[in-house]
Amino acid sequence: MSSIAERIAASGTSNAIELRGVTRYFGALAALTDITMSVRPGERRAVLGSNGAGKTTLLNCITGDFFPTFGTVRFFGEDVTTLPPHERIRRGLRRTYQISLLFSRLSVRDNVYLACRGVSRGRFSFIRTRARDAIMQSVEELIALVHLESVADRLVEELAHGQQRQLEIALALAGAPRFILFDEPAAGLSPAERRDLVAILTALPSHIGYIIIEHDMDVALRVVESVTMMHNGRIFKEGAPHEIQADPEVQELFLGSGHA
């Protein structure tokens, strides 16, 4: 682990996310092949591609859910390739999951509380948090942000699918994120909830960058400034949203055929 001074110095000049030659095998299957990409701090990027293109695996390699077979991952200049996920989260990385990963036998409030506590001190504390402690204010704010106030005391397993997706997003916004990875956050949301999602994304402070995987072009292209197209585990094209939309190859592969 590098010193804090080094980290600060590095983060001033580096990309938020920098991947070099990231390759990931599952047995003989190459889910990712030689991915090299960089995302600036504050940049908002969409990753598009058909099912099985390797988008989720890409996020897993960035968070450390899976380690890359080859290649390096840098987060604000620091080599985090072999750091466990919780260390990356504590450095300001966040993510949501395509298939909700929540704490089903805890209440919505406890779920959000755990996310807020996870990126602060006192994770091992034996002293209960009181309602007037500062952390509870952040918890209530996050619950309000995703409109779950009315079900805050309900167990997560009792929530509707759309509400679970909202909670999934809230967990990724806890603390002071520097960069967020959203894996198909709009999947399963109603049109109204989609509008809320777009509002949340556009209202994020400008220093917070993100990568969003999204099949819904209406959502994706409205909230990003750059796009990475993936196909068969490789990067296929990068560019601004209008360039990607106009690209004939892309249209043939994705947009026209209704895959994306």
Binding site: H86, F103, L114, R117, V119, R128
Partner: protein, 356 residues
Amino acid sequence: MALEQTIETDSLTLPQAQQAGAVSRWVHRNAAILILAVLLLILPAVAGPFILDQIVGWTMILGMIALSLMFLCGYGGMVSLAQMTVAGVSGYMIAVFGPSSLPSISLFWPWWVAAPVAILIAVAFGTVVGALSARTEGIYTIMITLALATAFFYLTLQNWPIFNGFNGFTTIPAPHFLGVNWRAPIPFYYMVLFFAALSYAAVLYISRAPFGLALQGVRDNPRRMEAIGYNVTAHRVAAYAFAALIAAVGGILLVWQNNQISPYSVGVNAVINILVIAVVGGITHPIGAFIGAFIYVILHTFALDALVAVGLDGRRFQLLIGLGFVIIVLFSPDGIVGIWRRLRARARTSGGGNPL
């Protein structure tokens, strides 16, 4: 001016009224446990030594050891079969460091040195068990902890210099201090009640503290816990250490009560009994450990006579316990606590449907 005063007094009395409301709500919600506490406190006034020692005292000690499993399993999702072994380690260590009938092994340290040292060693052992099994899940946790428990059983059986082989230790006295013989039935009862109540309250309190909530998060979804900043392995190991503390205290009390410890005390039978107690009582709430222990103690104490009375072989009481286990697990996977919860929920809904 007058208006201002009214507002002021209002804003003063309102929180107080709310507080009084909160207190009465708390009492109402915890009525059952408060009644139980009062009954336990006054029990020595009405019950003889047999009830105090062999029924309620034993229940509370076994309950503490089962509670340590409940904490790991109910909150952490980790089924450790080594909790009786942790209790056994502290039990053996109190015999080794304190007095016993074996001056060639026992060091005869005073209880206030021997007991903390025994607890420390048992907690270290429990933490090592945790470190070895924290990266496993489900059936693998059960297997590795059972293997460790079995290994310790054979160690005590075959090692003579420290564990005195299959004879174990006898005449291990509970302490005398403050002019009290703490092995006399009533003082011993209150000592056990104190530690059982303390463990129970601590587990209940910690279940809503960051440490306990995070443990429940680890139970529900370890991968997501990593992805929101928790070191899951460290959290699991810490849970084993805390559970070991409760089991270790229970182990010393068990040895002081029985006045002896031998390999049989940490054998596979004893290990499985703790699992049965925790499951029958219900692992979703700390009280389940004590309910399960009470049922076990009652069966263990009276089933023999009951079986003989109906003309069966008294030694079959283990069969009765096993049968009870199967029935409970089949009909209520969350044990007696689960049955109690469902009955209460039903009473509440039928009460709500009543137009009066």
